[in-house]
Symmetry: C2
Subunit: 132 residues, 2 copies
């Protein structure tokens, strides 16, 4: 009789303990992980600083510092919001996109164990994961 706890432990053990990628991403991009995270949100669509701080679950002043650092490195631009002069809109640059690609190449690379699964099991895993 399988319990959800057992499955959860297996899954989190696999993803968080055995295949944790934060350090690797930070080294490859020469950016603290939170800045990569911010950049990835910005790459999805332009965001305001308030939105970004909510997404990152960070304090607004710290978010300002994060964006400052990204802007300084030429990875984002910051301009007035088209509808509200209190807000700024943060947009990714081409250089920023390249950093995101590099980070995601690392984050998204499946662990060898997954690649070694037979196609049936993989498809089954996919089907079940999509239900969650």
């Amino acid at each position: 009789m399988t319990t959800p706890t057992e499955v959860w432990l297996l899954m989190r053990g696999f993803t968080m303990d055995r295949h944790e990628r934060r350090r690797e991403v930070s080294e490859a991009t020469d950016l603290p992980f939170v800045r990569v995270k911010a950049l990835r949100w910005i790459a999805r669509e332009p965001v305001t600083l308030g939105e970004l701080s909510r997404m990152l679950v960070n304090d607004r002043p710290y978010t300002t510092l994060i964006v400052n650092a990204l802007e300084e490195r030429g990875l984002v631009t910051r301009e007035a919001h088209p509808e509200d002069r209190r807000r700024k809109l943060v947009t990714i640059t081409e250089a920023g996109k390249r950093v995101v690609e590099k980070a995601e190449a690392i984050l998204f690379a499946p662990p060898p164990e997954l690649s070694a699964l037979d196609p049936d099991d993989l498809a089954t895993l996919d089907r079940i994961m999509r239900k969650l």
Copy 2:
């Protein structure tokens, strides 16, 4: 045709993005997550400071500080190693065990989505996860 990348993205999205527990554990225990992590390693068996710093992938001086903090809070004890006078052996206290239990109750609680899976899918997921 399912790719390992797709499955990996689903899995890491589920565990890391949607069910990340570090903040919750830190709040519940009033300890930075790395200290809870250290405590959990120590709870498995007594360790030396060198072993702990390797497990945590931390700098030895910082590991000393971590253990200092835990010791100060009465969660671990530190004593001479039985076989090597250069080493210290760090052992968990009863109070420490209670903190570990509290942390693991949070870490190990399966997300609602998993609990809502039907038993067949759950058992299948279990079977496949054990192959990884």
